[in-house]
Symmetry: C2
Subunit: 455 residues, 2 copies
Amino acid sequence: MAQKPSIPKGTRDFAPQEMMRRNYIFETIKRVFEHYAYKPIETPAMENLSTLLGKYGEEGDKLLFKILNSGDFLNGVNLDICEDDDKSKRLSTIICEKGLRYDLTVPFARFVVQHQNELTFPFKRYQIQPVWRADRPQKGRYREFFQCDVDVIGSTSLLNEAELLNIIDDVYKKLNIRVVTKINNRKILAGIAETIGFPDKIIDITIAIDKLDKIGLEKVNEELSTKISAEAIAKLQPILLMKGDFLEKVETLKTTLTHSEIGLKGISEMVELFDYISDLKLYMPCELDLTLARGLNYYTGAIFEVKTLDVAMGSVCGGGRYDDLTGIFGLKNMSGVGVSFGADRIYDVMNELNVFPEHSIVSSQILFVNFGHAETRFILPLLKRLREKNIACELYPDAVKMQKQFNYANDNHIPYVAIIGEDEIKTSSITVKTMQSGQQQKMSVEHLIDFLAQK
Amino acid sequence: MAQKPSIPKGTRDFAPQEMMRRNYIFETIKRVFEHYAYKPIETPAMENLSTLLGKYGEEGDKLLFKILNSGDFLNGVNLDICEDDDKSKRLSTIICEKGLRYDLTVPFARFVVQHQNELTFPFKRYQIQPVWRADRPQKGRYREFFQCDVDVIGSTSLLNEAELLNIIDDVYKKLNIRVVTKINNRKILAGIAETIGFPDKIIDITIAIDKLDKIGLEKVNEELSTKISAEAIAKLQPILLMKGDFLEKVETLKTTLTHSEIGLKGISEMVELFDYISDLKLYMPCELDLTLARGLNYYTGAIFEVKTLDVAMGSVCGGGRYDDLTGIFGLKNMSGVGVSFGADRIYDVMNELNVFPEHSIVSSQILFVNFGHAETRFILPLLKRLREKNIACELYPDAVKMQKQFNYANDNHIPYVAIIGEDEIKTSSITVKTMQSGQQQKMSVEHLIDFLAQK
């Protein structure tokens, strides 16, 4: 006998209930994007490997799923290379020209460069598609997962950053998830690193600042001493000791970074952005957070990370400003800013908080019991009338035992069951059972239509 | 300099206007599916090759996109096989365990078998996802394209076939495309082949019948003589000469197939289905068409094909009854029936007929001109109020020349532009320009909200 089939590890099937809830998330996010005039695009699942390789670091290259060339892919290939130590790597570049997309950002940059003459800038786009990574699967980490990206490219205005914060605020308010958005600016981080004389230690410094609350100033300085000089640590102290509200922190930064042009630029960007935030009267709190660095190297200005307040979960959204994303494909001076919503984590958070609205599960409103051929032919035109009134309904296809048909209604969350037997056909009436209460009532066809249309 | 980037041949980018129109098609189809209580599922892009291989014939196997195993895929592989003639084929089975899905039917069968204990039967599902085939790309044929499949599995009732016809009727009526649905039954075809003594010549016989109109009876019989015996051709004549309406044709078939049990079963199924069709009062015509065979071998009962009446295009939808689809994965006696809508062809037909409704292109309703910082801070809270009323709107992010901002509105099909300068701020009013007519009018914020909410 055939073995029970399975799917590749790290991938998932989505059954109806999960799909409906996921669609609820995607639809909510899409509606918000469209309110802000972002437009949908889609790119192919497969990109040329030349588009993908070298864009995600050496680790990223290893995580790309490569697609075997079609047909006689070994034809003309000199297999002598198969003696080498890195034979797998070398052969893969010869027998694979395509790979599955790893994120939506690089395909978006490729799209903008390729179609630059057809686009109007600033170009505001959103894109909701799966991406694939050959990561080791573990809880919450999949080899196929969805990203919801929203970006504007071709404008340096900080109003775009403000708009994205507004979008984040709207999305989580609509999804009923309380969040806080942490904001930093890469230029401030660069200014700090420059000021203390270690421009390549940005990451170490942010990691150290991040540990302040947990291990205290003394231990942080101790750790830093393995990375940077004593003089640099001394210069960093005002920032480590920084206290107070947003404006006080800004003053400390201004004093500390007074000789760093890029640092001061970052501070002025941050101040302007927080001005907009106060105008927008956002529902969520936004906080300046100097510990926020974000991994990807292409960010050059504001960076964002959104965390849920009620569930311990990594970030549920993040992004930032990149001044030269399309440069890798030859189009210079295209500044952009964008954020990416993690649909899988949002799903997990909503599940844990139990905040999916009831209407996110779509079913038919009413099931018609099947008693056999004569009753069926009475019911078919009736179904048509209900659907014309936008009422989702169905007839059980087989004339099986009543109990089985009622079980079907229960399993599918169908709130009403219509019973039409000989008596009902004679009197042109319908017995309607409310599944939750078990109550039954007889009504005319017109009454039934009104009754269901009101729900 | 970097070369202008490109995408793999046979794949496509979808720009905003095309995306919106495609989404209009998908949304319309989904809404209909849901009216009939079909439920969404999704399966991973990658399936194990053991799931896919051998399900689409030898040709299909060649068209599968295979995914290279991650990491050191050649480790432990004996490369002696690379001396063989079919070395590419043999090596691919060793270095690739996964492939991209080729259609939605086999993944659906796999899904049903894998999750059989979690599902309630009859199980009504729809699935809208891309599929990939390494076909030679040509006009209208892509290597990545979307299928919209709707199936019910676990019920043998012909009411399911009737329901699918109802769905087809609704979809094309809503999309404003006139179609005809051709219906045949594999059991009738089997009955004919059995009756004339050539059970394996079903395809040749349907091809011959199909040519009747074009080349005439004499030439058809001539062609048939190279495939089947003279006696068989004689027995086939009543069917080739068959005339009249549905009932007359049924009578001819009954007489001809009187000794074929399977043929008579097919005829009685066809009669029952046409009874339901007449009850349903469909908008589209449905025709018995004995020339319809459809390629896939798993069909066992009714088969459908939908053709547009106003544009020459292949079939825009097709499907049928399969009695043993899940048998390939070890689950017997699961009869199902389903159809698949071809979104790409539907798009092309609608484009050619120019029947996309205007509202399928979504844009913001109003663009606010950006004159600089002071005006901007007046506008930000206003945008928030509009969006709370579900009005899509945007502020141009940069304070550039008016003409550039107006061009942006035109390019993005934005019907109104709001001009708020010093004067307007003083009087708390807004000048609104209707882009199509060029007319301008001044109004209060409240008036603007009402004005746009009504559109």
